[in-house]
């Protein structure tokens, strides 16, 4: 049963991708939607099982899914669903602008599906080495997607993403190696010496020196993928140049998955050395990311880059929460990550449509969008207000929980600094959003049919986030509880 679900969740997208690669136009679209639908259903079912009756193992321990993994799986698949659902519109516009070659649609969907498969696989794997392989694979596939537009800027972004990503991920490999070395010292060269399940068990016996080094390298490596400053330099380029659905997936899920891997290292390290070492580093880099993102948000001229830096800010906050630890902050973390994923994916889609309609991504030329293209303008404003952490929204609750939890966990100053930076960032973000929505109007928009499907696609995730700020159904609450328990080191 579990095997089947796992196979469907990861395998179907891969196969559908293969199919899409050779298909064209509508068929590719259908394959993509169909494949993802299956993956989504089976993935949610799997997650449901895990949340209902605890961790599951499959394929002889190759796959182990605990609550945290299931949570990540859900996050990835839901965001992926938004991205895929937003793709046809995107491609249609490219088609209209006739910037699309014969096979492009098929290739696009194929890569997208493989990207999703990679992201979905990572939280299912037990072996940290394979986790690394999965993340590296997503890096490479997404690198192809980032440069999909073939414009000079797109190529530049993709190239930087590829090089910086590979180097960063290389560091992560070194980290994995060091961890392996330390566990080999305890277990001998067994195949499960890199399984985080085993590692958490034997953590106290691991060589502290090696574990420290391992975590440091993992922080640098997965930190690069998660867009932690100062390893974030590729992110604004890639996220702003990629096709909007890809930006949505990268920002909404890609970063989160990298953070997931880092979190696993954090848990092992914490179990081995006690919480102080890794927590302190996480807090430090979370704060640094917040601080670095701020000026780029305040003085930003490019809408999609603005959103990218907002992602850096929010991932910084999530990392901060991870470092804070403690029931409250972790609860905030688990709520924040998924709410941010949903919102950011939606806002990237809206921004993409806006940019396509107005023919520019310069904030100065997007003015008056509320009038020029109301549907997308409204979506952008609402999503921005949510990202700003204004109620009612899950992000508002999550931020409060994180900040309160931080102070509770004894990180008073860090929390205070974070609160200030967040508020300033909101000031910056809203400033630009006001310019875009009601600022002096730029060039006229090509009116674009925003059908009911689009309305639903925008309204659904946003309303989910809003409701998350008003009421948490008890099963959801229970699920988040389990996640926090795991992140609290209470069990893996």
């Amino acid at each position: 049963m579990i095997e089947l679900l796992v196979a469907l969740t990861v395998g179907i997208p891969i196969l559908a991708g293969v199919g899409a690669w050779f298909a064209e136009g509508r068929r590719a679209t259908q394959l993509a939607l169909g494949g993802l639908a299956i993956a989504l259903v089976s993935g949610l079912a799997l997650a449901g099982l895990v949340f209902a009756d605890g961790p599951v193992r499959a394929f002889g321990g190759l796959v182990v899914v605990d609550a945290f993994g299931a949570y990540m799986l859900v996050l990835v698949l839901v965001v992926a669903a938004i991205a895929v659902a937003g793709s046809p519109g995107h491609l249609a516009h490219k088609q209209a602008a006739d910037r699309l070659r014969r096979h492009d649609a098929g290739r696009y969907y194929a890569l997208l599906l493989w990207f999703v498969a990679g992201l979905a696989a990572v939280p299912l794997l037990d072996n940290l080495g394979l986790v690394w392989v999965g993340i590296e694979a997503t890096t490479i596939v997404s690198a192809l997607l980032v440069g999909f537009a073939r414009t000079p800027d797109a190529i530049e972004a993709a190239w930087k993403y590829l090089i910086l990503g590979s180097i960063g991920i290389g560091f992560a490999l070194l980290g994995t190696l060091l961890l392996y070395a330390s566990s080999v010292g305890v277990l001998g060269e067994t195949s499960d010496a890199l399984d985080w399940t085993r590692l958490t068990e034997i953590a106290p016996r691991l060589d502290p020196g090696l574990v420290r080094l391992a975590f440091v390298f993992a922080l640098a490596g997965y930190g690069t993928k998660a867009g932690l400053a100062p390893f974030h330099t590729w992110l604004p380029d890639a996220h702003s140049q990629a096709p909007s659905p890809i930006s949505a997936l990268l920002s909404g899920a890609g970063l989160a998955v990298a953070l997931y891997a880092l979190a696993r290292f954090h848990l092992v390290t914490g179990a081995a050395l006690g919480p102080v070492f890794s927590s302190t580093l996480l807090v430090a880099f979370g704060l640094l990311s917040l601080a670095v993102a701020l000026p780029f948000i305040v003085a930003q001229g490019d809408l999609k880059r603005l959103l990218a830096y907002s992602s850096i800010e929010h991932l910084g906050l999530a990392t901060l929460a991870l470092g804070f630890g403690g029931q409250l902050a972790l609860l905030g973390f688990s709520l924040h990550l998924i709410c941010h994923g949903l919102t950011k994916a939606t806002v990237f889609l809206a921004a993409g449509r806006l940019v396509a309609e107005r023919g520019s991504r310069r904030i100065g030329r997007l003015g008056g969008s509320l009038v020029r293209s109301p549907a997308d303008g409204r979506a952008l404003v609402v999503a921005a207000l949510i990202l700003a952490g204004l109620p009612p929204s899950g992000i508002f609750v999550a931020e409060l929980a994180i900040l309160f939890g931080g102070v509770q966990a004894g990180w008073g100053l860090a929390a205070a600094a974070a609160a200030t930076i967040l508020a300033l960032a909101v000031a910056g973000l809203l400033f630009h959003v006001v310019r875009v929505s009601v600022g002096p109007a730029g060039p006229p928009a090509e009116p674009r049919s925003s059908g009911g499907a689009w309305a639903v696609l925008v309204a659904l995730p946003l309303s989910v986030v809003v409701i998350a700020g008003l009421w948490t159904p008890s099963p959801v609450a229970a699920a988040l509880e389990q996640v926090t328990v795991i992140l609290g080191g209470g069990g893996g």
Binding site: L130, W159, L173, Y180, S191
Partner: protein
């Protein structure tokens, strides 16, 4: 045939020594073509070391991994890179950020730093820390040095490969390699990475007309 671990580690050390020398050469040369073949040999040597150790310890996964490594990194990758080189007009690193002499000095310095670092590295008694570790660290650093000081896309890829070799060597020096699945995965990823790099290098040639990363500075702020 069987070799006792002692000899195995000696072999690894020998390979490591050669690899270090090649690394210095890589840092110094300005000809991209030459650097491609140098890195190919280097990668192959890592593979050879793996095979030898595999024979020594009788660990099958090392044999397979090593052979594949020789095949992929020693043969396929150089061919791919070569094909781009043939397309591109410029085949020398004209104005590297760090001149050849300077990089030579830097490379040598790196070796010493690496040695010192490896001695100081508190890797614990758990690992039979062989002399390959300094070499590994040196290669990692050399790779970074190349990527940071070259302008041509190909040179960057070469640097990346050196970096990868360094990591692979680290794997040997710490623990005789990693579990097979991981090894294979790493190799596979590396291969795809190079292919993607190849794709983008081609696009650069098509769209920008050269593989120099100097034009890639329009995305700022």
């Amino acid at each position: 045939m069987t070799i006792d671990p002692q000899t195995a580690s000696e072999i690894v050390d020998a390979c490591a020594a050669v690899i270090v020398v090649l690394g210095v050469g890589l840092a110094a040369t300005r000809s991209i073509g030459r650097s491609i073949w140098l890195v190919a040999i280097q990668s192959a040597l890592v593979g050879v070391a793996a095979v030898m150790v595999g024979l020594a310890t009788g660990a099958g996964h090392l044999l397979i991994g090593g052979v594949l490594a020789i095949g992929v990194k020693g043969v396929v990758v150089p061919l791919v890179l070569g094909s781009i080189l043939r397309r591109s007009a410029v085949r020398r690193e004209r104005h590297p950020i760090l001149g050849p002499r300077a990089s030579l000095i830097a490379a040598v310095a790196i070796v010493f730093v690496a040695t010192a670092a490896a001695d100081g590295a508190s890797l614990g008694a758990s690992v039979a820390a062989s002399h390959a570790l300094p070499a590994a660290i040196a290669e990692v650093l050399t790779g970074l040095l190349i990527v940071m000081t070259r302008r041509k896309a190909l040179s960057l890829v070469v640097g990346l490969l050196v970096f990868e070799d360094g990591i692979a060597l680290t794997a040997f020096s710490l623990t005789y390699g990693m579990p097979l699945v991981v090894e294979l995965g790493v190799l596979f990823d590396l291969l795809i990475a190079v292919v993607v790099a190849w794709i983008y290098a081609r696009r650069m040639l098509d769209v920008l007309g050269s593989t120099s990363t100097d034009q890639l500075r329009s995305l700022r702020g």
